[in-house]
């Protein structure tokens, strides 16, 4: 398969089940909602070492938020429910509670409830006040800038993590430009986040390492500087490979995001130095969700 001169490999991305939740952060203005959301989703690129994967899903207008202020929606993903709940609570406590003018609300009504403000309330040292509004419980926690308002729980749902595709280009700047175009297109798809910096990974990994202490190491088959010394998957003209990793609430959400991203890359085409689109998989051993590139782009 070839689109605008870009070869689409006959391969698939391999993804695995995760647990996910969404939180809505509002503030006096969008800038401060972003400050809080960026802090909350920082150091959350990979479950390998961060505890969770997280990202800003989208901006919310005042009409879309519970308290009528501007806000952003963030998605958090983890391998299990306990881990997700712990990460959510820790990050909410350190990054949202602390952020001036912020408030925190549930972004998923269904699923299994996990604590949002439920335990943060104890920061109020007995001065916290509960309010039940429309069947939901909120906590008013007195803080130095006024009150921090947090909904008691948010919903946790089954999700999919690790959707991905690789962009193989003739140069590093061309690979990065293609990634930027892809991420911009994918950000318009709801229910997904690209958790790595700017949505892009330059250090794709393989399972295992020659060092016993490591369970993942550089994906040498896609490292252009190792073309001559390893079992490479790169042809001579490929000088740079970058990956976009996608976590989504459902398999369909990831498929939509992958299609939007690959379409954006292919619009740049071979003329912009883009030669191939590939994907990372582990022979079907890692996860039950397989995203076949050619089926998605058919």
């Amino acid at each position: 398969m070839e689109i605008n001169g870009v070869h689409i490999d006959d391969t698939f991305a391999e993804a695995f089940p995760m647990k996910a939740t969404r939180a809505i952060i509002t503030a006096q203005n969008l800038e401060w909602a972003y400050h809080s959301a960026r802090a909350m989703t920082g150091f959350a690129t990979s479950v390998i070492a961060c505890g969770c994967e997280a990202g800003i899903e989208r901006e919310l207008s005042p009409e879309e938020t519970p308290d009528g202020r501007p806000g952003v929606a963030v998605l958090l993903f983890a391998m299990g429910g306990k881990g997700l709940a712990k990460q959510l609570e820790t990050r909410a406590g350190q990054c949202v509670l602390t952020s001036p003018t912020s408030a925190l609300f549930a972004g998923i009504d269904g699923g299994k409830p996990i604590p949002l403000g439920k335990n943060l309330r104890f920061f109020g040292d007995g001065f916290q006040i509960s309010k039940q509004i429309g069947g939901k419980r909120y906590w008013r926690i007195p803080v130095m800038d006024g009150e921090f308002l947090a909904e008691e729980t948010t919903g946790m749902v089954d999700a999919v993590g690790g959707g991905n595709f690789l962009i193989l280009a003739e140069s590093q700047p061309q690979a990065l430009a293609a990634c930027e175009a892809a991420v911009a297109a994918m950000k318009r798809v709801p229910n997904v986040v690209m958790p790595f910096p700017g949505g892009v990974v330059r250090s794709g990994s393989k399972v295992g390492s020659k060092y016993k202490a490591l369970n993942a190491s550089t994906n040498d088959a896609f490292c252009p500087t190792l073309k001559g010394v390893t079992r490479t998957q790169l042809s001579p003209e490929i000088e740079s490979v970058m990956e976009i990793v996608i976590d989504g609430l459902t398999k369909e959400d990831i498929e939509k995001a992958m299609r939007a991203g690959i379409e954006a890359v292919c619009r740049l085409g071979a003329g912009a130095g883009i030669r191939r689109i590939s994907a990372g998989n582990y022979g079907g051993k890692l996860g039950p969700f397989h995203f076949h590139l050619r089926e998605i782009m058919a």
Partner: protein, 270 residues
């Protein structure tokens, strides 16, 4: 199906305990007609007191002068009950869900110990709206009470959870011994508002004559929960649902420091 309409034949001499009527959603119209209620030492069938029309036993309408009928809607579940006039005491007492709409006035202890649903009173209500029965330790535990007129004394006494909304004036001791929940009054309030209030909120549109000395002045603040709280009332047919009457800037008094002291009186500011 049309609502089951009960039209009073003649006003009874004695007060009538109408609580058996709350079982109507589980009964047929014929079974509702055969329900027995007490009036003094006499027992009456419902169809001895009322003309009955209609079929929908989940949707009841009472017509006529019902001021001598007490316990209307007591402990009701999933019942929509409209009283086209005034009712006696204990209207909506312990109601679990559904709606009770009184188009006239209600006597004392309206919505006392309410558990859920909506009690709407278009006229005024007597003392102890949403309160606990004498001897009991907890008043309303859920639901919403909307009174479009005035309420008497001790409105929300020992209220545990839920919301009492008063569009008119409230008597003395409004929000007394509040355990939690919210009592909101658009009109004036009498003496000793929030007396013995432990937790919960007394939200006032007008400053009372005096704030009890056992409250601490916490200053004027913009509180983020208020827009959310008002938004939660938007579906009500009430002045509380009008965004023009909403606000988020309040003068906060913390107290009652003679009790637990974790509650508040919030007075509209600016």
């Amino acid at each position: 199906m049309s609502a089951l309409t009960l039209t009073l034949k003649s006003a009874p001499r004695q007060r009538v305990d109408l609580s058996p009527l709350s079982a109507a959603p589980e009964l047929t119209p014929a079974e509702v007609a055969a329900l027995q209620v007490w009036a003094g030492k006499r027992r009456y069938r419902i169809d001895e007191l009322f003309e009955i029309e209609g079929e929908d036993t989940r949707n009841l309408v009472l017509r006529g002068d019902c001021r001598k009928f007490d316990y209307v809607g007591r402990d009701a579940r999933d019942l929509s009950l409209t009283v086209a006039g005034s009712v006696g005491a204990y209207a909506g007492m312990g109601m679990r869900s559904g709606t009770l709409h009184v188009q006239g006035d209600a006597d004392i202890f309206a919505a006392c110990e309410l558990r859920g649903g909506l009690v709407r009173i278009d006229g005024s209500a007597g003392d102890f709206v949403g309160a606990a029965l004498p001897g009991d330790k907890r008043g309303m535990r859920g639901g919403i009470v909307l009174v479009k007129g005035d309420v008497g004394a001790r409105c929300g006494d020992q209220l545990r959870r839920g919301i009492v909304l008063v569009e008119g004036d409230a008597g003395d001791w409004c929000g007394s011994r509040l355990i939690a929940g919210t009592v909101a009054v658009m009109g004036r309030v009498g003496k000793h508002p929030g007396y013995g209030l432990r937790r919960g909120t007394l939200l006032l549109w007008q400053r009372p004559e005096s704030i009890p000395p056992t409250y601490g002045d916490c200053g004027v603040h913009t509180l983020g929960f208020l827009p959310l709280w008002f938004a939660g009332l938007r579906r009500l047919d009430s002045r509380f649902a009008d965004p023009a009457n909403a606000f988020d800037r309040v003068h906060r008094y913390g107290g009652d420091l003679a009790a637990v002291g974790r509650g508040e009186i919030l007075i509209r500011a600016g």
